[in-house]
C-alpha cells in the first residue's frame, strides 16, 4: 500500500473555511512530489454534510468523522476522534491549516500519539526522497527547513495564505466518502464551551479600504499616533495598527490588522514602524502595493514590501504628509 497524506479540513458555522482549500492544494502538491496518495477528512457533528464538497476535489477518499460529541468543538473530542481515525487508517503525513482551532488541539493529538507537529509551515521541499517543511522563525527574520525524526504519522500545519486555495484541483469524478463514527466515551470532554460571540459591534471595516496607513511599535508613544493620523487624513486613508498598538489602547481593537484582527487587501498599504511579525503579515500580505518605513533594514516587513524606506518614521512621515497635502492642493486647483 502506498503512503498516504491525510488533509484534515476545517469547517466553521457550516462552511469549510478558505484555509482548508489551501491545505488541500498543499496536499495535492506534496502528493505530486512524493507519489503518495491523498485523502481528506472532515470532522464534526454532521461532517458528512460537508464531505461532498471536499470529495469534488482531486482526492482519493474523504472520511466524514462524526459524533454528536464533536459539536461544539472541544480539543478533547477532536483529539480523541482523530486519534481513532489515524490509528485505524495509518496515514504517513497529516496536514491541517494553522488556524486557532487546529493550534488548540493538534499538539494534544500528536502528543497523545507520541509524535510531533511541524507547525505554521509556509512550504515544503522534497529533496533526495526526503520531505522537509519550511517555516518562519524569529518572527520571520529567518526561515528553517525542518524534517521529521520519528515514525509516522507526521503532522504539519500550513500558515494562512501559504498555498492558493483556488488552485485546489477538482477530481475527474467525486471521491468516495466513508462515514466514520467516532467513539467518544463519557467523561472525555472536560471543557464546556459557550456560544462564540463578537465583542462590540465592529465599528470600523478596514476590508474595503483603498489605502491604509498602519502603525506599529516604531511609533513609540501614544501621542505620536497623531503623526500617522495626519498622513492618513492627508491621503484620505484609513488608519490601522499592528496588535501591540491596540493592546496598549493607543488605537481601538477594531483597527487591528493581523491574525487576531482584520484581514485587508487595499491598493496601497503603508506600514510605519511595523517590523512585520508573522501575525501581522498574514493580515495584510494580500495588499496590492506595500510601502514600508522602518529604521531596521532587517525588519521582515521589507521581505514583502514593494517600496522600502529605511529610516526613522519621525523623520520621514511629516515631510511626506506635507508633500501629499501640497500635491493634493495643486490637483484641486
Amino acid at each position: 500500500m502506498p503512503d498516504t497524506i491525510l488533509v484534515v479540513v476545517e469547517q466553521r458555522e457550516g462552511k469549510l473555511n478558505r484555509v482548508s482549500w489551501e491545505t488541500i492544494t498543499a496536499g495535492q502538491a506534496i502528493a505530486a512530489a512524493t507519489g503518495w496518495t491523498l485523502e481528506a477528512a472532515v470532522v464534526g457533528g454532521t461532517a458528512s454534510t460537508f464531505a461532498a464538497e471536499v470529495a469534488a476535489k482531486k482526492v482519493g477518499k474523504v472520511y466524514a468523522v462524526e459524533s454528536p460529541k464533536l459539536e461544539p468543538y472541544t480539543p478533547d473530542a477532536f483529539a480523541a476522534a482523530l486519534k481513532q481515525l489515524l490509528t485505524a487508517k495509518q496515514p504517513k503525513l497529516v496536514l491541517m491549516p494553522h488556524t486557532y482551532q487546529v493550534r488548540d488541539f493538534v499538539p494534544k493529538l500528536a502528543t497523545a500519539m507520541g509524535r510531533a507537529v511541524i507547525s505554521d509551515c509556509i512550504g515544503f521541499k522534497h529533496e533526495n526522497g526526503k520531505l522537509v517543511f519550511t517555516r518562519q522563525m524569529f518572527q520571520g527574520k529567518l526561515a528553517a527547513d525542518v524534517s521529521f525524526n520519528s515514525d509516522a504519522p507526521w503532522f504539519a500545519t500550513f500558515q494562512n495564505g501559504a498555498f492558493r486555495g483556488d488552485k485546489a484541483e477538482d477530481g475527474a469524478s467525486p471521491a468516495p466518502i466513508e462515514t466514520v463514527a467516532a467513539d467518544i466515551a463519557d467523561g472525555v470532554i472536560r471543557n464546556k464551551p459557550q456560544e462564540a460571540f463578537k465583542e462590540a459591534k465592529q465599528a470600523v471595516d478596514l476590508t474595503q479600504a483603498e489605502v491604509i496607513v498602519a502603525v506599529g511599535r516604531g511609533i513609540k508613544e501614544q501621542k505620536n499616533i497623531e503623526i500617522a493620523k495626519q498622513l492618513a487624513d492627508a491621503l484620505g486613508a484609513d488608519l490601522a495598527a499592528s496588535r501591540p498598538i491596540c493592546d496598549n489602547g493607543w488605537l481601538p481593537m477594531d483597527r487591528q490588522i493581523g491574525s487576531s484582527g482584520q484581514t485587508v487587501a487595499p491598493k496601497v498599504y503603508l506600514a510605519l514602524g511595523i517590523s512585520g511579525a508573522i501575525q501581522h503579515i498574514v493580515g495584510m500580505k494580500g495588499s496590492r502595493t506595500i510601502i514600508a518605513v522602518n529604521k531596521d533594514s532587517e525588519a521582515p516587513i521589507f521581505e514583502i514590501a514593494d517600496y522600502a524606506i529605511i529610516g526613522n518614521l519621525f523623520d520621514i512621515v511629516p515631510p511626506l504628509t506635507e508633500e501629499v497635502k501640497k500635491v493634493k492642493a495643486e490637483l484641486a486647483k
Binding site: 483529539a79 493550534r103 488548540d104 488541539f105 499538539p107 494534544k108 500528536a110 502528543t111 510531533a116 507537529v117 511541524i118 507547525s119 522537509v132 518562519q136 522563525m137 524569529f138 518572527q139 527574520k141 529567518l142 528553517a144 527547513d145 525542518v146 524534517s147 521529521f148 525524526n149 520519528s150 471543557n191 464546556k192 464551551p193 459557550q194 456560544e195 462564540a196 460571540f197 465583542e199 491621503l235 501591540p244 491596540c246 493592546d247 487576531s260 491598493k267 496601497v268 517590523s275 508573522i278 502595493t289 510601502i291 531596521d296 521589507f302 521581505e303 514590501a305 514593494d306 517600496y307 529610516g311 520621514i316 511629516p318 515631510p319 511626506l320 508633500e323 501629499v324 500635491v327 490637483l331
Partner: protein, 256 residues
C-alpha cells in the same frame, strides 16, 4: 491558587541575527529579553494571586543567561523560580521541552499552568498544549480573561475574525495566554531588592534527562528567507523621499 508560569528568554525583537557555524541555529551573542506573551502570562498570574491568594512560581529552561527572565519575574512579584539550566535545553523541540518541564515539577501541585501563546523565536505555539496532555490536564488556548468560580474557571478564548468564546473548565488546567490580556506592571525598586532573597531552584539536565528523548523534529538548516518580491528602495533626504513617494502614489499607484 498555585500557578506556574512557563517563561522563555528570546532574542530581542530588533537584535540582528547571524547564523552560527552549524547553519542550523543562530549565534547566541545577541541581546535577549523575555518572550512577550510570557510577560502577559506572568502578569495574569500575579493578578490572580492578588485576587485569590496562593503562589506564583516561574519556570524557564536555558543556559545561565536565561536566569535574567526569572530574576525579572521575581522582581515583579513571583514567589519563587525553577531554572532548568543547561545550554542543551535551547535546542529541544516543544515536545521535549514540555517533557522536561513535566519532570521538573513532578513533586509540585499546581492549580494552573500558564504559558505565552507562542514564542518569538521558534513560534511553534505548542509547548503549553503538549504539557497539558503530558499531565493529563484540560487546556484552553489564546486566553483573554480568567475568572475563578465554584467548579473551576471560566476563560475567554480568542477565536479568529474578531470572535470570542467563554469556556468553563475544571482545575487543574493549562492556559496559553494572549498578549494584551492585561497591562504589564513594572518591577519596583523594593521588588528588585526582595527578588535577591527569593529562591531559584536549579534543575540540571541530568535530573530530567531520563524524561526527554531525541527531538522528533529536526532543523536541517536555517537561512535568511529568499525574497519573493522585488523591492525598490526609496532613498535620499526625508524631503526627497517624500517627493519620490508622492510621485509614485500619484502616477504609478494612482491613489492621489
Amino acid at each position: 491558587m498555585k500557578i506556574l508560569v512557563c517563561m522563555k528568554q528570546v532574542p530581542q525583537k530588533d537584535a540582528p541575527l547571524k547564523l552560527n557555524e552549524t547553519a542550523a541555529w543562530i549565534r547566541e551573542d545577541v541581546s535577549y529579553e523575555v518572550n512577550e506573551p510570557d510577560a502577559f502570562a506572568l502578569e495574569e498570574a500575579l493578578r490572580q494571586r492578588e485576587k485569590h491568594k496562593g503562589e506564583v512560581v516561574v519556570i524557564t529552561s536555558g543556559p545561565a543567561r536565561a536566569q535574567q527572565v526569572l530574576r525579572e519575574a521575581l522582581a515583579k512579584g513571583a514567589d519563587r523560580a525553577i531554572h532548568l539550566e543547561d545550554n542543551a535545553f535551547v535546542g529541544l523541540d516543544a515536545f521535549n521541552t514540555a517533557k522536561a518541564f513535566a519532570a521538573a515539577i513532578k513533586d509540585e501541585q499546581f492549580d494552573l499552568i500558564f504559558t505565552g501563546l507562542q514564542s518569538d523565536d521558534y513560534g511553534y505555539a505548542q509547548t503549553g498544549v503538549i504539557l497539558a496532555e503530558l499531565l493529563g490536564w484540560p487546556h484552553a488556548t489564546i486566553i483573554m480573561q480568567i475568572e475563578k468560580n465554584d467548579t473551576g474557571i471560566r476563560v475567554k478564548r480568542e477565536l479568529e475574525a474578531g470572535f470570542f468564546q467563554f469556556v468553563d473548565m475544571p482545575l487543574p488546567a493549562v492556559l496559553t495566554i494572549q498578549s494584551g490580556i492585561n497591562k504589564l506592571r513594572y518591577a519596583t525598586l523594593i521588588g528588585i531588592k526582595q527578588a535577591k532573597n527569593k529562591p531559584i531552584r536549579k534543575v540540571a539536565l541530568a535530573e530530567v534527562q531520563s524524561a526527554i528523548g531525541e527531538n522528533l523534529q529536526k532543523i536541517e538548516r536555517l537561512y535568511v528567507p529568499q525574497k519573493t518580491k522585488k523591492t525598490e528602495h526609496i532613498e535620499g533626504s526625508p524631503v526627497e523621499i517624500a517627493k519620490k513617494l508622492v510621485d509614485k502614489l500619484r502616477n504609478e499607484l494612482r491613489v492621489l
